[in-house]
């Protein structure tokens, strides 16, 4: 034991913490990712949790996982498979083993592999490792017992002590990756600032886990080190997509000098946005938890009329209910952001899982000619920019905007360089001017942008009526005139078409790729990684990822028609591919479509794309 264990340097590693829903796997993952990020690694995390709040303890359906990908350079995904799998009970090993690489190291708590645990996990024999044919290194440690020994004499009861098991795993993983425990200690002291006893107990257990690894070498041949090379200097934090979205709205409201209003109804996986915004009353944020999804959108339309930056947050099933009020905002030309954190459908579908199946709903899912800008966030941190730009477009172009994220980017996290609001573009809503006083009508517009002017109630000289009925373009009175209706529909469509959006960027072999990968929204990281891997293997691949879906970037057709082969890869049955074919003449792409509720697996993408190149 005196012999030092060899340290292997890795470019990046993936660790998956798994256990019962109540085992604190997310906290364990968060601590480890924060520790890694603090020393300058790039991180990407992904929680994979069941829909049940607390499934029966030890059951297969109750397992929740939290995957952390840390890298010396930038990491784009939480990783396909893991280098280290922590399984806190038998059910976790059974369900999560499929995520372990053939070279992985597996850590189990043998105290949670007793007869009862094995039965609950539906093992047939007393030896799960053999039964599953596991060949990898297994660190089998009596974690529960060691935690209890470590906390003996603290006066904690058995249950409270066992709650600290996750910290033992963190300690062991920190040893395995040669991490300094000081950062973890700081994190825990801060997290449990109001419960110092709990903080100290957790810190003791982390040290116990670390020391166990150090003293026994935990039957591994070597430990790892992931150097930090990335890092543009600056200040960073770890942020989830939902939190970044909420921050984007807050930042946009501040920039525009407006109050932020959120009308919402709880729905997985969007609820965290409601939670986050509800906290920030000191920033003047108003949140109304409404009686239903319809009211969530309707109150926001009312708030927009009254002069707020109005947002409503939901997931696909909620968009179905909101669509009528969204359409009201279309015809009234009021600024509104509708956040759709997509999940598996149809109907209630897979509430905690991720898909991109709401695209056509966002673009077209309303009665009448109902043009609406649509933006899709590419990653957890991109949610901030996407929410900011969605708000800017809504306010400056007097239109509802759909912001698409998904369960994967919403719950996943990455390290985020703190933005400087001063560097973000100004937001200038088209307010009425003093010259319009007394002769204002609501549907007169700026001839260049096609945008109408915004008269916020409470100002003398601008009283007017908005409504769901078609209005005369000049007077604003109700009109059923056929020519006027045709004209107004065109005006609303042109207004959206005129919104300036940045060109779509092409990465990789821009000039001579044999294959262009096309995607949108939350699949960015996986598609980028697939391109990167293929190019490193000597292929010539380019990648164009869309954030602005309506209007599409001006260079869309040029980019799509430039390459011999194009594959549109998306987590639906071809909604984006179909939309692009509608917009770009003679565009016939290959398609990669999957609706499994899980993120893409880079290895599968590479395999499929290679076949297309060979086709």
């Amino acid at each position: 034991m005196s012999q030092e264990v060899k340290v292997i340097e890795k470019h990046d590693v993936v660790i998956r913490f798994s256990g019962d829903s109540g085992d604190g796997m997310q906290l364990a993952g968060n601590i480890f990712s924060t520790v890694s990020a603090t020393v300058g690694n790039d991180i990407s995390t992904f929680p994979d949790y069941p829909a049940d709040i607390r499934a029966p303890q030890g059951s297969l359906t109750g397992v929740s996982g939290f995957q952390v990908h840390i890298g010396a350079d930038k990491v784009y995904t939480p990783g396909d498979k893991c280098d280290v799998l922590v399984a806190m009970n038998a059910a976790a090993l059974k369900t999560q083993y499929k995520f372990a690489k053939s070279t992985a190291c597996i850590i189990i708590d043998t105290d949670a592999f007793q007869k009862g645990d094995l039965e609950k996990a539906e093992f047939k024999t007393g030896n799960p490792i053999e039964e599953m044919g596991i060949q990898q290194d297994v660190i089998a440690a009596p974690i529960s017992q060691m935690v209890k020994d470590c906390l003996a004499g603290t006066g904690m009861d058995n249950k409270a002590m066992l709650k600290c098991r996750n910290m033992f795993a963190v300690g062991l993983v920190c040893w395995l990756f040669n991490r300094d425990l000081k950062i973890a200690e700081d994190f825990i002291r801060d997290k449990f600032a109001k419960k110092p006893d709990v903080a100290e107990a957790n810190i003791r257990v982390i040290h116990a886990g670390y020391d166990y690894g150090h003293n026994t070498h935990a039957s591994v041949a070597h430990t790892y080190k992931v150097e930090s090379k990335v890092a543009v200097p600056g200040r960073y934090m770890d942020i989830t997509g939902n939190k970044a979205t909420a921050y984007g709205f807050i930042a946009a409201a501040e920039k525009a000098g407006l109050k932020l209003f959120l009308g919402s109804y709880p729905i997985t996986p969007a609820t965290d946005v409601l939670h986050e915004l509800s906290k920030h009353k000191s920033l003047g944020v108003t949140t109304v938890q409404c009686e239903d999804e319809i009211s969530g959108c309707a109150t926001s339309v009312g708030a927009a009329f009254a002069g707020a930056l109005a947002v409503t947050s939901t997931s696909g099933p909620g968009v179905c209910l909101k669509s009528e009020a969204m359409n009201l905002a279309v015809i009234m030309e009021l600024p509104l952001v509708v956040l759709d954190v997509q999940r598996g459908g149809p109907s209630t579908g897979l509430p905690t899982k991720s898909e991109q199946t709401d695209l056509l709903q966002a673009l077209f899912g309303r009665n009448g000619e109902s043009p609406m800008p649509v933006i899709a966030a590419a990653s957890p941190t991109d949610c901030f920019d996407a929410a900011y730009m969605a708000s800017k477009i809504a306010l400056e172009h007097m239109t509802p905007v759909v912001l698409l994220t998904d369960a994967f980017v919403a719950n996943g996290s990455s390290s985020w360089k703190l933005p400087k609001l001063a560097e973000y573009p100004a937001i200038n809503p088209p307010y009425v001017t003093p010259e319009m006083k007394g002769n204002y009508t609501p549907y007169k517009r700026n001839s260049e942008t096609g945008v109408r002017y915004w008269a916020i109630p409470g100002q003398e000289g601008y009283t007017h009526i908005l409504g769901g009925l078609e209005k005369d373009a000049n007077t604003g009175a109700i009109s059923t005139d056929p020519e006027n209706h045709n004209f107004m529909c065109r005006l609303r469509a042109e207004k959206v078409e005129k919104i300036p959006v940045p060109d779509v960027k092409v990465q990789g072999y821009v000039d001579d790729a044999d294959l262009l990968i096309v995607g949108f929204g939350g699949t960015y990281g996986h598609l980028y990684s697939a391109m990167d891997e293929m190019n490193k293997a000597g292929k010539k691949v380019a990648f164009a990822h869309f954030t602005y879906l309506n209007p599409l970037p001006k260079n869309t057709a040029a980019v799509l028609k430039k390459y011999k082969k194009v594959v549109v890869a998306e987590q639906n049955f071809g909604q984006f591919a179909g939309y692009l074919r509608m917009k770009v003449d003679n565009f016939v792409p290959y398609q990669f479509n999957e609706v499994k509720g899980q993120p893409f697996i880079v290895a599968e993408l590479v395999e499929a794309f290679n076949k297309i190149i060979e086709d």
Binding site: K281, S282, T299, G302, A306, L328, G468
Partner: protein
Amino acid sequence: MKNIMCEYTAKDFKKGQPRWCPGCGDHFFLASLHKAMAEIGIAPWETAVISGIGCSSRLPYYMNTYAMQTIHGRAAAISTGAKVANPDLTIWQISGDGDGLAIGGNHFIHAVRRNINLNMILLNNRIYGLTKGQYSPTSPRGFVSKSSPYGTVEDPFRPAELCFGARGRFFARTIATDDAGTVEVLKAAALHKGASVCEVLQNCVIFNNGTHDAIAKKEDRARNAIYLRHGQPMLFGENNEYGLMQEGFGLKVVKPGENGITEKDILIHDAHCMDNTLQLKLALMEGPDFPIALGVIRDVEAPTYEEAVHEQIEEVSSKKKYHNFEELLMTNDIWEVK
């Protein structure tokens, strides 16, 4: 926010030419609303009138205020958002019995429950007029209409009951043909801080003519209705010859001077009583055995939602140390890469 400096007339609130059927109760109500708004004295540009869909929801088009005619059933929710976002606006929410109690029933009860400071007008003609004559949630059981040729087989909502069930703090009733009574009720609604529900009984000359005939005319009202005024004895009849008194758990119509009953036995109206038991009983009275109650039936104080929201914002703001985005960022676990 009363504008004492400026006197308004009904004309200042008028706009356009109403296009309801001649004789429609909406004409009467609109005239009373214009008059009431002038007397209330809040500027047209500090007022918003917000409706849903239906004949009566056309009303905002005839208002020289900020206004929205929205979508079916959602006026209460849209008004809620507008009021919470801008509490300085005085909002009149206009709905019919279909808009407010059928498709919009959920928003109606929740706006009342939250006690949003809205003047919520429910124009009740017990029929769907704009879609040409189907029964509504306030049509009586057995009502024959185009969609119920053999009579309905369902009981109606009684708006007061729904309002009280949602903890309503203000409920008043008037009939559109009674201008003075309507103006009085609307002024009381405007004065009340919180969700003020006004049921306006109104005739549909085309599809449900005569539905409120028992009290449509002044002389009939004297017999078949009772005007409730806070602090006044509950007397009615052409010469106030009838009164209401409590008997057991119920109400009873009596004649003071007969059977040893004196004016002292007659109930005195208490609109400000927190316990709504008697107020509900009054609101649910129906002919022919009882007079229909008109006037302000319930009017009690309670904190309004939007006030509480903004008080909380101020309270939390005074305690929290971050007040802009930059400061918000600093509340997170931050690390520095040099």
